[in-house]
């Protein structure tokens, strides 16, 4: 049976998302994989310069 619950994040605040096991793992969705590969290539060609990086 699917479960739906709200969770508390590590800072103790309620997140707004409703956690549900109905949400599909799309890590292998061809569109999302293609977009991630394109993004990786974009950042390889155009890295964020050091002076703009905030850690």
């Amino acid at each position: 049976m699917p479960t739906i619950k709200k969770v508390i994040d590590e800072k103790g605040f309620y997140g707004d998302a409703i956690v549900s096991d109905k949400v599909k793992d799309r890590s292998n969705d061809p569109y999302f994989v293609k977009k991630a590969e394109e993004a990786k290539e974009f950042l390889r060609k155009h890295p964020l310069p050091g002076h703009l990086i905030k850690k």
Partner: protein
């Protein structure tokens, strides 16, 4: 950020989110996915989202939903960034449209919602071969977002 948004659902690892757009073209399922693309310090994740095909349950980037709720959809996606970074850390999130026209729509929406978005996020835009702080009315090729 107090923009009107849709209720949204997360998988328990907080990499996948789903919500429903509602408008003149019906109820359309949207999916958001964060995928790590640079595993360094700081890490970079790609944010991608799109419409879920009723037929295949896969993302179909050819769908143009035209549900007259662009800003509400963007506000919902922005909330997923907040939840994702609350759970996984304040990483950089990269985003670009699937076409130049869609990237331009993101730029228009970010500009329209800038007073709210800029409260929570630092936004960088890529244009003319360099990254810069986001400015309204500039057409960028890509965006990097980080929580303040």
């Amino acid at each position: 950020m107090n923009l009107e948004r849709y209720p949204y659902f997360a998988k328990n690892d907080y990499h996948d989110f789903e919500f429903y757009s509602e408008g003149p073209n019906g109820r359309i399922k949207k999916a958001v996915r964060f995928l790590k693309i640079v595993d360094e310090d700081p890490a970079f994740y790609n944010l991608a989202f799109g419409d879920v095909s009723d037929e295949t349950d896969a993302i179909d980037d050819s769908i143009v939903s035209n549900n007259n709720d662009r800003d509400m959809v963007l506000a919902t996606v922005a909330k997923t960034v907040i939840d994702f970074t609350n759970i996984h850390g304040n990483h950089y999130v990269f985003a670009t449209g699937s076409t130049p026209a869609r990237t331009r729509l993101y730029q228009i929406s970010i500009s329209a919602l800038w007073n709210e978005i800029s409260i929570d996020f630092e936004v960088l835009g890529f244009k003319d071969a360099r990254w810069e702080s986001f400015k309204k009315n500039v057409n960028y090729e890509a965006f990097l977002v980080k929580r303040k």
